[in-house]
């Protein structure tokens, strides 16, 4: 589904991602972990299409299409969803209006009729239950004045409405209380299908108790320096990143 090869990304001449390879297949869940500043959010943003970064080399294929040729909205309509680490506030734009526009532009792209107001409301009610989000939240402006946890829940709510093929969740678990974490994880699990895939970026093993990953990758200084199964997350949780950093250092020198 997603195939990243030899990716190098920089911003203002500063190298952020180096020779990065990642292969995600349908039905898989990948977890990406790694110290602060290692490039996790950059990777997510580049896949979503943020243009503030320079792609120096490499390629990103999504369902055999070259992502570099697609603007962010087309990527989204083709099924890519990024849950933002820092969701953006949009004063004056209601979540309902925002999501209805998003869904209908996606439907148009796919050659489907737009949802009527009533159909959209019905869909919203359905998905609200899934993520246990309160009505008073969806009537408000997008993320404006939301608490940290509310913003993260709102990301999952949007994901539920858009039903992406590839979801990249950037620290959607941070800032959530234990109940909310379960709700979010539960939401992600319910949306899992054989033909979609999820990448979760997280600092905590805890989330991975609920969303069981097939692969865990460690990103360090712009490279994936270690990959393994779900047990790698446990090991990182107990030992920290030092040993991975040392190994990586040895690798680079060797």
């Amino acid at each position: 589904m997603l195939s990243i090869k030899n990716l190098q990304v920089s911003i203002n001449g500063k190298l952020i991602l180096k020779d990065l390879d990642l292969e995600v297949k349908e039905g898989e869940v990948h977890a990406i972990m790694g110290p602060n500043g290692s490039g996790k959010s950059t990777l997510a943003s580049v896949v979503a299409g943020r243009d503030t970064f320079d792609i120096d080399k490499g390629e990103i294929l999504y369902r055999d299409q070259n992502l570099m040729d697609m603007n962010p909205e087309t990527r989204a309509r083709e099924g890519i969803f990024m849950g933002f680490q820092y969701p953006v506030e949009i004063p004056g734009v209601s979540i309902a209006n925002f999501m209805r526009t998003a869904i209908n532009e996606k439907r148009k792209h796919l050659g489907l009729e737009p949802l009527s107001g009533a159909e959209f409301l019905k869909l919203m009610e359905e998905k609200k239950k899934l993520v246990d989000i309160q009505s008073k939240l969806t009537n408000r402006s997008v993320n404006e004045g939301f608490s940290g946890g509310e913003k993260k829940k709102n990301e999952i709510f949007q994901m539920a409405l858009l039903e992406p093929r590839l979801a990249i969740l950037d620290e959607t678990d941070s800032g959530l209380d234990i109940d909310a974490l379960k709700v979010v994880a539960n939401g992600v699990n319910k949306l899992r299908r054989k033909d979609n895939a999820t990448i979760v970026i997280t600092h905590y093993q805890r989330l991975l108790d609920y969303i069981i990953p097939d692969y865990v990758h460690v990103l360090y200084e712009g490279r994936i320096v270690k990959s393994g199964g779900k047990e790698l997350a446990l090991e990182l949780e107990s030992k920290g990143y030092d040993w991975v950093k040392k190994e990586a250092g040895a690798q680079i020198q060797g």
């Binding site: 943020r50 909205e73 989204a76 309509r77 969803f81 990024m82 933002f84 953006v88 526009t101 532009e105």
Partner: protein, 469 residues
């Protein structure tokens, strides 16, 4: 129509025209008004037209406009015209008491002056000077400041007609009173309507003033509004401006508020070549509410200028200014909001805010919020922003599949809605909501104005180009 003095500069021409046409100009005016004219004329002789040398006109240059060879008309030739022939009025759900000024003259559709059964008087100011001279004299000229503004002096010297509203003590006028100002001429015209609005003690009234042009010719409207809110009166004043790009509209509104009165004004500029709204509110007595909202959506080389002065002369009042604008192409906006809190105006709360979104590098906004405070127990705030649409928000929306164009529209619409939502008449709010949306999509024509639809002229659309940041 007078053309004999065409070659003189406009100021000299006007002074000469006044001498030549004195009798026509005075018409049925009261002796007091005629004395005011003489004084005002000498003030105009001294002050002249405002120049960019004046602090308050620094960014706004009238010189090119004043070179126009305007025509003047000192007698009412439109009183008996059938206004319905010129446009059809499309009122939707907005039920108003509607009156029309055609080229500055009151159109006598039914009567020049109507007295409702509750005592409210609505109609032509010229007629009111004849029928209710004492009432007119009690208020006229008491709020305007011709000594400070050449244009107000000029209007005072030449004033002949306009809207007169008097709401007696304790009366709440149910329907909004709608004033439709139409400029329609084959020649460049110079118009000076004068409006006088009085809300007596405990009275309530809403005035919707729609400025509209049916012409693509140059026109200059120098209008003056005097509005009095007596004790505990409740007044809402709307200006909805949708004019051709060759029109210049300067509206100087002078508001005077007495104890416990509430005044809310809205200045919505959807189109206009050159628009300047001067709003001068004197809070004479305690415990008043003085709220002023504005929205301007301008493109091409339109110029819009909002100039406010709120004078807190008495304690315990609240004033608020919220002006927002979206500027495309080479459009220019000027905002100047001054709040003066005098020594005796303790416990004043005053806020002002001006926010601008520029869609191009060529668009320009000059904003000067300004507080001058002499009392020590006050709560005041001011803020101003000039910027682009938030690029973070833009990416966030696009990452959900929303096109750049739609994302822009959603954000601009949301930006404008903060002002539109302050409109308290539901039908007008819905209509304005719709017009703003159309305007932002580039689908609004100047003949599509507020409640009326022009069916006689080619529509002109002004496009805010959404493909630009």
């Amino acid at each position: 129509m007078d053309t004999s003095t065409n070659t003189l500069p406009l100021k000299e021409r006007l002074l000469a025209l006044f001498e030549e046409n004195q009798e026509a100009i005075k018409g049925p005016s009261t002796p007091l008004v005629n004395r005011m004219r003489k004084n005002a004329l000498s003030m105009f002789r001294k002050l002249g037209f405002p120049t960019t040398g004046l602090e308050s006109w620094r960014f706004t240059d009238l010189t090119p406009l004043l070179k126009t060879e305007f025509e003047f008309d000192f007698s009412n030739q439109s009183r008996s015209m059938d206004i319905e022939k010129i446009f059809t009025c499309d009122v939707y759900d907005l039920d108003t008491f509607s009156v029309t000024l055609y080229n500055g003259w009151f159109v006598y559709q039914n009567a020049a002056l109507t007295r409702l059964s509750n005592g409210t008087i609505i109609g032509s100011l010229a007629k009111a000077m004849e029928v209710y001279p004492d009432l007119v004299d009690q208020y006229i000229g008491k709020a305007a400041k011709p000594e400070q503004a050449g244009l107000t002096a000029l209007n005072t010297a030449f004033m002949q007609d306009g809207l007169f509203i008097y709401v007696p003590e304790g009366i709440k006028v149910e329907k909004p009173i709608q004033l439709i100002n139409i400029v329609d001429s084959e020649h460049p015209v110079f118009l000076q309507p004068r409006h006088l609005i009085v809300a007596g003690k405990n009275a309530g009234v809403t005035i919707v003033q729609c400025d509209h042009s049916l012409t693509h010719n140059i026109s200059f409207t120098n209008s003056v509004v005097e509005l009095f809110a007596e004790d505990n009166a409740d007044v809402e004043h709307y200006m909805i401006q949708n004019k051709g790009r060759n029109s210049a509209l300067i509206t100087s509104s002078y508001f005077q508020q007495k104890k416990d009165s509430r005044l809310t004004t809205h200045a919505i500029t959807l189109n206009g070549g050159f628009t300047r709204n001067i709003m001068d509110a004197s809070i004479k007595e305690s415990n008043c509410h003085s709220e002023h909202n504005g929205l301007y959506l301008v493109d091409s080389n339109q110029h819009v200028d909002n100039h406010l002065f709120i004078d807190h002369e008495a304690p315990g009042s609240y004033s608020d200014q919220l002006f927002k604008g979206i500027l495309d192409d080479e459009a220019r906006a000027v905002f100047s909001g001054k709040v003066l809190v005098r020594r005796e105006a303790q416990k004043t709360i005053a806020h002002q805010n001006n926010k601008n979104i520029l869609l191009t590098d060529e668009a320009k906004a000059n904003t000067q919020p300004h507080l001058e405070i002499y009392a020590d127990d006050v709560k005041c705030s001011h803020g101003a922003t000039v910027g682009q649409l938030d690029p973070q928000a833009m990416f966030y929306m696009r990452s959900r599949g929303i096109s750049e164009r739609s994302a822009r529209q959603l954000m601009m619409y949301a930006f404008a809605m903060e002002v539109v939502q302050k409109i308290s008449i539901e039908a007008l709010r819905d209509r304005m909501d719709h017009l703003v949306e159309k305007r932002l999509k580039g689908e609004l024509s100047i003949c599509d104005q507020c409640m009326l639809h022009c069916n006689s002229k080619e529509p002109t659309t002004f496009n805010i180009d959404l493909s630009k940041i």
